[in-house]
Assembly symmetry: C2
Homo-oligomer: 774 residues x 2
């Protein structure tokens, strides 16, 4: 855990240059706009420790699987987020000496991520080895208005000399993924050009054949006016640039503006790529840095209006939650149904793939509540479009008749992961995809989605579960053997309660979906039945038989659901009684020891009690929470949020707050010592859930919004914005009151502590805080 980031409400601030922290900061200060993104690398050369990273959404490479021992069914390839051309590069030579913060003496270093306006600014004074001193202020952003465009304003001022400044602005496509399995490079050059202050470079991915054209233009200003210096082209393999040399005087500011664009063949005809890229760059240059930055700030203001959480009385918590929201919004905008939310977003390349069950389980609630329904809907349609691949994926494992198994990790719908206990057995992911459909409809009321897209997915998923269980002659019940639940510290177990429970829930929900579509869209129903060759009577009978005869492990005496068969055979030493030197287990214990232990990596039974909370009474929840929580080590960043929400529900506000604290500043404080690899993007949504579903107790039941808020810790108040069925609400929870402001044109009635509160259009209503404890 490190705490070098300065606390501030709207900014992430690093002061002083600590090379050892550079890779961490490169992650934390990352920029993105949903379409492209990058780590906070330096524009000028840097020979110190760095992970250079530029990423273009939807562009991936199927890296040949690396595995110790092959298991039948493994995918041949692991689709990886691709490290793409570096467009930020500006080499600075001062009287022919390279500016490089690794060799210079650096003072007054300050890096600021302005989350309110969406830009990164870095300033420093550098003394290069020959004693010359310059002041640099570099500002850049990936535009969320022109989302193929990124711009840089690089200001440099000599402090103690007159001399020459040589600037080389370039695009470098000779990049390699740090995590390449066989140390290969994934890009080939297609074409390139340099003309004056402009250049472009088109690269094509090996195997997948994606083309990305990266273009740039640079302009040099002095004394507020553009110069027109001569530019010498620089051309190497997968590299284009231009060099210009100008005179600089002491205290005279030179500004280099660099306008760049990344255009992908996913969005442009290959033949038009270069032309469109040049046009995009030229438009940006014509608009100019200042206007673009103003537009950026305005666009971010709109985003914040929808998604901000304001916390009074706890500046670190304020910064943490805003950082999470900022990064989520940088990662996914919901505008393109082909995209999804990678676990590292655009901040690193670890784990590859773009899509995990994290999206459905943790991210959907955030986007549902903070953006237009279309955003979450696009995440659902992403899976709908991959239904065919999910059916192929299941077929590879021996399932048939249209059974669908969604992959554990994917880019294009094909499974990418290769650990048998995960790839083949952590199948509960399939249920999360069905649950997301339910959750989306529950929240938005968009029941038409079922007929349009949802039902087909539900049928495929239900078919999978119906084949995946088997009848046990010994038990005279259906069982589900050989699974890995959400708690990955158990592998290949029998009858994981969560998985079995969610499986039958899927079967029931699919049957409800069938009834609903039959009743509301009979023609579409007939079409779906035909398309899926669905045998309505026979298949649903089987499903119902499974629902009626499924085995779920329980312990009657303890009154709890058992995580899986045999869980109580384990040695039951609680986490609090573990020697702290033994933790984190995933670093201190061998894998078999972890597996044999009773310790739970992340919410498992409790995840089920969270998803299906209306099924279980509070006593049941409490017994299970009291049993499982003391055995949970939360060694997944996705775990504490569920515990926070459940603790809040059980009225244990202090612990709810404690769970929240475990993830709210996970990356800012480098809690797990792994931020340098990239940020934990998907768990950021879990932090948001802790606040909104936990502290504010937000739920949707029968189409109605409900809140049961409390104020955690030393907070004086917290406020968040919610979109709900055409309304835009701002909920503010303070010591004595819950204020609900209805910023939309239609009235709404919500429940606060179970009491209906009518909030007229355009009005704010204050409710007394009987239940607020502090």
């Amino acid at each position: 855990m490190k705490q070098y980031i300065k606390v501030d409400g709207w900014n992430i601030i690093e002061e002083g240059f600590v090379p050892h922290y550079n890779k961490i900061s490169e992650s934390i200060f990352s920029l993105g706009n949903g379409r492209m993104g990058q780590r906070a690398n330096f524009e000028e050369a840097y020979s110190g420790e760095t992970l250079q990273g530029n990423y273009v959404a939807g562009v991936y490479y199927p890296d040949k699987t690396r595995v110790g021992w092959w298991k039948n069914g493994y995918p041949e390839y692991f689709a990886k987020v691709l490290n793409a051309a570096n467009w930020i590069g500006i080499d600075i030579r001062i009287d022919n000496e390279m500016l490089d913060l690794h060799t210079a003496q650096v003072n007054d270093f300050r890096r600021v991520l302005n989350m309110q306006e969406g830009y990164l600014q870095r300033s420093f004074t550098a003394t290069i080895p020959d004693g010359k001193q310059v002041r640099v202020v570099a500002t850049r952003f990936c535009s969320i208005v022109d989302d193929e465009t990124g711009v840089i304003r690089y200001s440099i001022t000599p402090l103690n000399f007159d001399g020459t400044l040589q600037v080389t602005a370039y695009i470098d496509g000779d990049v390699k993924n740090q995590d390449a399995n066989y140390d290969e490079k994934f890009w080939d050059e297609v074409n390139a050009g340099v003309e004056g202050n402009s250049a472009y470079l088109t690269l094509r991915t090996k195997k997948t054949g994606f083309e990305v054209c990266t273009g740039m233009q640079f302009h040099v200003h002095q004394d507020g006016k553009p110069l027109q210096p001569g530019v010498t082209p620089v051309r190497k393999e997968k590299y284009v640039g231009g060099t210009t040399t100008i005179a600089i005087s002491r205290n005279q500011e030179t500004i280099i503006y660099k306008y760049a664009a990344n255009l992908s063949s996913e969005n442009h005809a290959v033949a038009a790529l270069v032309n469109n890229c040049e046009t995009t760059v030229s438009k940006a240059a014509a608009k100019g840095f200042d206007i673009m930055l103003a537009e950026q700030a305005a666009a971010w203001a709109l985003k914040w209006k929808e998604s901000d959480i304001v916390i009074e009385g706890d500046p670190a918590a304020q910064q943490g939650i805003r950082f999470n929201i900022f990064q989520l919004n940088q990662t996914y905008t919901g505008e393109d149904a082909r995209l999804n939310i990678g676990p590292k977003g655009f901040t690193g390349e670890k784990y590859g793939g773009s899509t995990y069950w994290d999206t459905e389980a943790y991210c959907i609630p955030f986007y549902l509540a903070t953006a237009e329904p279309q955003v979450a809907r696009n995440l659902l349609i992403y899976r709908y479009k991959q239904l065919g691949k999910a059916i192929e994926n299941a077929a590879k494992l021996g399932f048939n008749n249209g059974a669908a198994l969604y992959p554990m990790v994917t880019m294009n719908g094909e499974e990418c992961h290769n650990e048998w206990e995960i790839t083949f057995e952590e199948i509960h992911r399939n249920a999360a995809i069905a649950f997301a459909i339910f959750n989306y409809i529950r929240y938005t009321g968009d029941e038409a989605y079922l007929a349009e897209y949802g039902l087909e997915v539900l049928i495929g998923i239900a078919r999978f579960w119906a084949q995946r269980v088997n009848w046990s002659d010994a038990r005279k019940q259906y069982v589900m053997l050989g699974v890995t639940g959400p708690n990955e510290y158990e592998n290949n177990v029998n009858n994981n309660w969560y998985t079995s429970t969610m499986a039958t829930w899927c079967l029931q929900y699919a049957m409800e979906g069938l009834q609903h579509v039959k009743a509301t869209a009979p023609e579409r129903y007939a079409a779906i039945l035909q398309e899926t060759a669905f045998e309505a009577g026979k298949e649903t009978e089987k499903w119902q038989h499974i629902v009626d005869n499924m085995y779920y492990p329980v312990d009657e005496q303890l009154g709890i659901f058992l995580q899986q068969d045999g869980y109580l055979d384990k040695e039951q030493i609680l986490v609090k009684d573990l020697d702290p030197a033994q933790r984190p287990l995933n670093q201190k214990w061998s894998w078999d020891r972890i597996l044999r232990s009773c310790y739970i990596k992340q919410a498992d039974v409790l995840q089920g009690l969270y998803f299906l909370e209306d099924r279980y009474d509070t006593d049941t929840l409490r017994r299970n929470f009291d049993f499982y929580e003391p055995r949970t080590v939360h060694e997944s960043s996705l775990s504490p949020c569920v515990h926070a929400i459940l603790a809040a529900k059980l009225g244990d506000e202090q612990r709810a707050h404690e769970f929240y604290l475990r993830t709210s500043r996970l990356d800012l404080d480098d809690y797990n010592n792994d931020t340098e690899d990239g940020l934990h993007i998907t768990s950021m949504a879990g932090t948001w859930m802790s606040v909104v579903e936990g502290f504010a107790g937000m739920r949707v039941r029968d189409g109605q919004l409900q809140f049961t808020p409390f104020l955690p810790g030393k907070w004086q108040s917290f406020a968040f914005n919610i979109r709900f069925r055409g309304r835009v609400l701002k909920i503010k929870v303070s010591q004595q009151a819950v204020n609900i402001e209805n910023g939309s044109a239609a009235d709404i009635t919500v429940l606060v502590y179970g009491e209906p509160v009518h909030v007229p259009a355009g009005k704010m209503v204050t409710t007394k805080q009987g239940n607020l404890v502090n």
Copy 2:
């Protein structure tokens, strides 16, 4: 399955050159002498498909682990059998054209492995592209008399031309392991020399620093007389050779004798390697090919006298069993306690490592019965010497107080394998090592072994088991969670009956061992207690408590031991009811489907009933056999032998024979389509067990040899030799009689069908065959 090998009692014969089979034949015709070995590659150049393989016992390389996803506790390295310098190479140029069977037209090709005398002979007529025809007869062997030496007699005769013959005899050390994880080469050159017709090359392994000096001398003879042609040295990196050119005339035979030696720093001081190597080569050359071959034949005759099995009435079975015995004797001679029996011997490099539990479970019985006790004893001492590493290995996994976990795969005692479900969980291997001590003492009567070596190993193993079980509060019994039994088609199961049963057997045997040593060697006992810091009362009390309170899964209704918890929850479709198109499962099914199924890869519960047979009555055996056999797919070559022995015990002679047939010609007929990777050396011992323990029903009980033979299939008789406590017996089972011949100087009384039969020294006794069925 292929059947291109000609049936013959003493020879393995291939007739006609089928390039597609070459890699298979390279495995089948492999040579070895316990110290070194090689695949049956060609002496002359060959540009077709081949796996060049030369191996030196005990010389390995720790190849960096390759794994998809790291698990805590994995070893950093996988020790690999090293592909070493090729010493057989003789390039042949005829009028400057290379002789290469890939480009020549080949006639009358014949490859013979003479098992009786221990040599390989290959003969053919080749027409090279320019039409010149030569007849070649190449004979070679690895001497079991001078076990660092290999020799070649390469005869070549022009059939239709006069011309020149250019011979390059060489040693090529620029070799690579086919299975290198990162495509690296593992050898560095240390020194090399070429002088006249002699050359040497010393290579050192990277990381491990083993040095191997390979030397050679070659001599050219014509008309029965040595020539003294000039030799041009050839020297490249990791390559030494000499070239000589001579005139050859139509029908004039030229013979090239090549004498080579492999000397390893394991057996020679590094400083003396080159000198000793040159001496060894010179001695071989002085002795000459013919004398060495005669010595080889004589030495093999002795081996056969001890280990041969003669089958009358079934030539294919005769060839199969002799081939197995021959390869076992080529692989391990028992002369060096640092060596062990690799799964592929010297015939390939797949699986790496030299030592698996195969040695203790399958090979020990073969060597016990067919060689001096010292041979099996050396295999035991091998493990004794690695006890320290086994304790380290257990410590890495969190065990303490001298608990020992022997590795799944090893070269030097360190674990080499990296699949968590095997490396960390297939811990039953530990019991096999204890059982081998029991088995050795049972067979040889060498009870002093316990005090000398055995007890320390038993203590370490018992300590492991005592820590590996845990008390289940739920069951009020000890349980053993998270193991993989011998049936590797189940992973990470709880309470595998075999593992739990063998674990408590180990505890009991260790306690008996303690008592025995205390009573028979009190000083040694005290020393061992001190050395192991053994707390006699406390530790054995705990062991006894575990023995008394261990949980073993059973099904009372079926009257069977349950392979593991939950086994009966599986869908119980018998193997016979499986669509044959689905088999072998390991090629047709995804791994998770295999794991979920009831199908058993290799004997598991039945392995326990085999090891501990005196504990269980025949009815118990029958119920378990009848339950498990129909669920066993025998997709391990180590499985059928156990079923054969048990079927024989149950009187089901036909099935016993069927099980035997599954492995007796496994490699000769390339049954599993994988012989090209190397031979299944350890399963060959299982085949021997099927005959001796199965068909002949040999057992040792209370120090007495017992037989309950029958004649399988169409066999007219079978006979085998047994060493037993100083006696050398030949047992022949024919239609009407069991003959027992006592070739030693002391009488013996054995039981035949439970009746004592006294066999005086030097005599043969014939017993009537009441129980023989045919």
